[in-house]
C-alpha cells in the first residue's frame, strides 16, 4: 500500500521525481567514492580492489548516449583526481570507458544482462588501466618496464574484481532508472 502511494506520488509530481532521482544517483556515486579507500576482506586481490568508479560509469553508460557517458566519466574522473593525485589524470580513462560502453549497443551482441555487464566491466577495466599506463609512459618519470609489468598486475586484478562486483551496483541502479523512465512516459 505504502509502496503504491509512493510511486503514485512520484508519477503525479515531476519535481519530486526529479529530486529523488538525482538524490539516488548522487547517493550511489557517493557510496562508490566512500567504498574506494576500503580494502574489505574478500574484496581485494594482491592489495588491489575493484574499481568502483569504473563500475558506476559502466552502469550509467550502458543504456545512455555517448555524450552522457563522457560527462559521467569527466565528473567522476575529476573527483578521483582530487582523491589521489591529478597527474596522470583519471578523466581520460573514465571518459573513454563511458564513451565505449555507450557505443557498444550491447543489445545487438549480448542478451543476458548479468553476463554482459560483467564482461563490459572486465573490458573497460583493462582499457582504463591501459590509458593510465600510457599516460605514465608519456610522462617518462618511471621506467617503461616497471610501468608495464605493474600494469599487467593491476589490469588483471582490477578487471576480475570489477567484473565480479559490477552486478551488485548495476542491478539496483538499473532497475531504479528503468522505473523512473517508465514513470516519465
Amino acid at each position: 500500500m505504502i509502496k503504491r502511494n509512493f510511486f503514485s506520488v512520484l508519477r503525479d509530481d515531476p519535481t519530486k521525481r526529479l529530486l529523488l532521482n538525482c538524490a539516488v544517483t548522487v547517493g550511489s556515486v557517493l557510496l562508490c567514492l566512500l567504498v574506494l579507500p576500503t580494502r574489505l576482506p574478500g574484496m581485494e586481490l594482491a592489495g588491489i580492489g575493484p574499481n568502483w568508479l569504473l563500475i558506476w560509469v559502466v552502469t550509467w553508460s550502458v543504456k545512455r548516449s555517448m555524450l552522457q557517458g563522457a560527462i559521467a566519466g569527466l565528473v567522476l574522473g575529476l573527483i578521483q583526481d582530487g582523491m589521489t593525485a591529478n597527474a596522470p589524470t583519471h578523466v581520460f580513462s573514465l571518459m573513454l570507458a563511458g564513451i565505449l560502453t555507450a557505443r557498444l549497443r550491447k543489445e545487438r551482441y549480448l542478451q543476458e544482462d548479468f553476463i554482459s555487464v560483467a564482461l563490459i566491466a572486465f573490458g573497460m577495466a583493462v582499457v582504463a588501466e591501459t590509458v593510465t599506463a600510457i599516460q605514465y609512459s608519456i610522462r617518462g618519470d618511471r621506467s617503461l618496464i616497471d610501468i608495464w609489468t605493474y600494469h599487467q598486475l593491476i589490469a588483471l586484478s582490477s578487471a576480475i574484481l570489477s567484473s565480479l562486483w559490477a552486478p551488485i551496483l548495476y542491478f539496483p541502479l538499473n532497475r531504479w532508472w528503468q522505473r523512473m523512465s517508465a514513470l516519465e512516459q
Binding site: 557517493l30 580492489g49 567522476l76 573527483i79 589521489t84 596522470p88
Partner: protein, 259 residues
C-alpha cells in the same frame, strides 16, 4: 532568437544538472576530496579500535629495534668524535589508526584517522612497527593521506648502516624498493640494514627502512640493490605520525624531486 529560446527551454534541465555535477566535481578536485575523506572518517569511526589497547605487531617491532641498534652503534662511533653535540630530544608522536588505502591502484597511499585538528601537517612522517612508512602529503581536519615509501614516485635518500654508503630508494609498489647507489663500487651485502640518510630533506636521518635483499653491482649507470621494507605495509593497522620540518627548502623544484 526564437530557436535559441526553444533550445534553452528544452535543454534547460539537462544543462543545469550537468553544470551542477561538473561544478561539484571540480570543487572536490580542488579541495583534494576533503569533504569525502571527512565523511569517510565519520562513517568508519565506529569500526576503528583504540590505538593504545591494540596489540602491536611484535615481530616487526623486534626487527625495528635490531635495526635501530645497528644504526645507533654505527652512529655512536661518529658522534664520539664530535665535540659539543647536543641531542635534540625525542618529539612526541601522534598515534593514528589506518582507516583506508589509496583510492587508485597506481598510487600507494594510506589514509590515517588523524588530521589537522590533532596537529598533523603536510610533510610530517609516519612510522610504524618496523620503521618509516611514508610522508604526509595531504591533511583534512580529521584524516591525513600518507604517500608510502613503496610508491614509485616516492624517493628517499638512504644510507647503508654498516658501511655508510649512500644512495636513494625508489618504491616498487609492493613491499620492495630499489636502491640506487651514488658510488660505483659500494660496500654492501645481503642483509645489510638501510636507514634514511643525513642528505634526505624529507625525512630525519637514521630511521630504519629495511634490509638489502639482493645486490646487482653490474647495473648501469649505477649499482642497484633491492631493499625489503621492514614494515608490513599491507597489514598495518596503526601508525605514529612524527613532526618533521624540512631542513632545507628544495634548491630547485623544477630540476628534480628532493630526496
Amino acid at each position: 532568437m526564437y530557436i535559441l529560446r526553444r533550445w534553452w527551454d528544452r535543454h534547460r534541465l539537462q544543462i543545469v544538472l550537468v553544470s551542477l555535477a561538473l561544478g561539484g566535481a571540480l570543487l572536490l578536485r580542488q579541495t583534494q576530496g576533503t569533504a569525502l575523506f571527512e565523511v569517510y572518517q565519520l562513517l568508519t569511526r565506529p569500526f576503528q579500535g583504540n590505538p593504545e589497547k591494540e596489540a602491536l605487531l611484535i615481530n616487526a617491532q623486534v626487527v625495528e629495534l635490531q635495526q635501530r641498534l645497528t644504526e645507533m652503534e654505527s652512529q655512536n662511533q661518529r658522534l664520539k668524535e664530535l665535540l659539543g653535540y647536543v641531542s635534540k630530544g625525542a618529539k612526541d608522536g601522534i598515534t593514528a589508526p589506518v582507516v583506508g588505502r589509496s583510492a587508485d591502484h597506481w598510487w600507494q597511499h594510506m589514509i590515517l584517522g588523524r588530521g589537522s585538528q590533532d596537529g598533523v601537517k603536510v610533510g610530517y612522517i609516519a612510522m610504524a612497527p618496523g620503521g618509516v612508512v611514508g610522508r604526509v602529503v595531504n591533511v583534512t581536519p580529521n584524516t591525513s593521506r600518507v604517500l608510502l615509501l613503496s610508491d614509485p614516485s616516492s624517493q628517499v635518500g638512504v644510507t647503508v648502516s654498516r658501511s655508510r654508503y649512500m644512495g636513494y630508494i625508489r618504491g616498487k609498489s609492493s613491499n620492495r624498493a630499489v636502491m640506487e647507489f651514488f658510488d660505483k663500487v659500494p660496500d654492501v651485502r645481503r642483509g645489510d640494514v638501510v636507514t634514511t640518510s643525513a642528505l634526505s630533506q624529507l625525512f630525519p636521518a637514521g630511521l630504519p627502512i629495511g634490509r638489502i635483499e639482493s645486490v646487482d653491482l653490474s647495473k648501469s649507470p649505477a649499482p642497484e640493490a633491492v631493499v625489503e621494507l621492514s614494515t608490513p605495509m599491507s597489514s598495518l593497522e596503526w601508525a605514529v605520525i612524527y613532526p618533521h620540518t624540512q631542513s632545507l627548502p628544495p634548491a630547485d623544484a623544477s630540476l628534480s624531486e628532493p630526496l
